[in-house]
């Protein structure tokens, strides 16, 4: 296979895992560097901007809490798109993508829950309350754990892919519930103040570090997702080659 045939000209070309590995090898170092720069700028802004007149310094927790919460929902959306790719187009990398995103989503959801709790205690006077927003995000966390457990409990990867994809799509109903929970129900959690139809209601002083940190977290997610997909492709190749070696050894006897 010449290098020329590995050129990626359209999305469907990524269906070839060898092409994907070549692209990942080129992308990962760049993405990792961009992530580090974005975090350096984001953290600098997070700790140098002014505190809130009411919340004081605790507003700084927002710069990790909100991006992690966005990522927890974006990651599930990436998994849902991958699930459609598995079920509709039988894209060979869609299942790899969904499988590798689940642990990342669980980690970002855990960050959102922990930092939210640490913000809630000084501001609301409680670590936790079973209101609609907090409960729906906790359910999202449990769903990620369930999907990871399902992937690990099935030996046949193609069957695990199809069952997992159906479960991901059924669970997607939770994403709009999380987003609109603060509008549909009376919650202790505040309503949206950045992604709104009438524009952000948050002061530019807080919006700047928040957006830079959101970009940093998103870059971190894509870096880790591409690296984890590459690892999964390698894992499947190792398994396939071991089976081949076992068959060859069986024939020689």
């Amino acid at each position: 296979m010449s290098d020329n045939s590995l050129a990626i000209t359209k999305l469907s070309d990524l269906a070839n895992p060898t092409r994907f590995l070549a692209l990942a090898a080129r992308l990962i170092p760049w993405l990792a560097c961009l992530t580090a720069v974005a975090f350096a700028v984001g953290l600098y802004l997070s700790f140098t901007t002014e505190g809130d007149y009411q919340q004081g310094e605790t507003v700084r927790i927002m710069y990790v809490h909100v991006p992690a919460a966005w990522l927890s929902m974006m990651c599930y959306t990436v998994m849902a798109v991958s699930a459609i790719g598995t079920l509709v187009w039988r894209h060979p990398l869609a299942d790899v993508s969904a499988r590798c995103a689940a642990p990342l989503g669980a980690a970002f959801t855990l960050i959102a829950l922990i930092t939210g709790s640490l913000w809630g205690k000084p501001m609301w006077g409680t670590w936790w309350v079973w209101d609609a927003r907090l409960t729906s995000v906790f359910i999202l966390f449990l769903m990620y754990l369930g999907l990871i457990a399902l992937n690990r409990s099935m030996d046949d990867p193609s069957k695990a892919a199809r069952v997992g994809a159906v479960l991901i799509l059924v669970g997607f109903v939770n994403i709009p519930i999380i987003k609109f929970s603060v509008e549909w129900w009376n919650t202790l959690h505040q309503p949206a103040s950045v992604i709104r139809m009438d524009g952000p209601t948050i002061d530019a002083e807080f919006l700047r570090p928040l957006l830079v940190m959101a970009v940093a977290f998103t870059l971190l997610f894509f870096t880790l997702h591409i690296a984890a997909m590459r690892n999964e492709i390698w894992r499947r190749r190792v398994n396939a080659q071991r089976r081949l070696a076992a068959r060859m050894a069986g024939r020689e006897q």
């Binding site: 296979m1 060898t18 004081g56 310094e57 605790t58 700084r60 927790i61 990790v64 809490h65 992690a68 642990p103 990342l104 980690a107 855990l110 960050i111 922990i114 930092t115 640490l118 913000w119 205690k121 000084p122 971190l220 880790l224 690296a227 984890a228 590459r230 690892n231 390698w234 894992r235 190749r237 190792v238 396939a240 080659q241 071991r242 081949l244 070696a245 068959r247 060859m248």
Partner: protein, 57 residues
């Protein structure tokens, strides 16, 4: 407890979780590369990676 406790615990735990994710991805990749190299050294290659002279498995 002062506000600083909540802020630094939030950032500290976030750093810990992110560091664990990065380390896990990194170490997983290295382990898989070692396995592929070991298989390659044992002469077990993918069909596409085999030279034309090699016999079919």
């Amino acid at each position: 407890m002062g506000h600083a406790f909540y802020i630094y615990t939030a950032y500290g735990l976030t750093t810990l979780i992110v560091a664990a994710l990065v380390a896990w991805t990194w170490l997983d990749g290295r382990a898989r590369q070692r396995e592929l190299a070991a298989l390659d050294a044992a002469g077990i290659r993918r069909r596409s990676a085999r030279s034309p002279g090699e016999t079919k498995a």
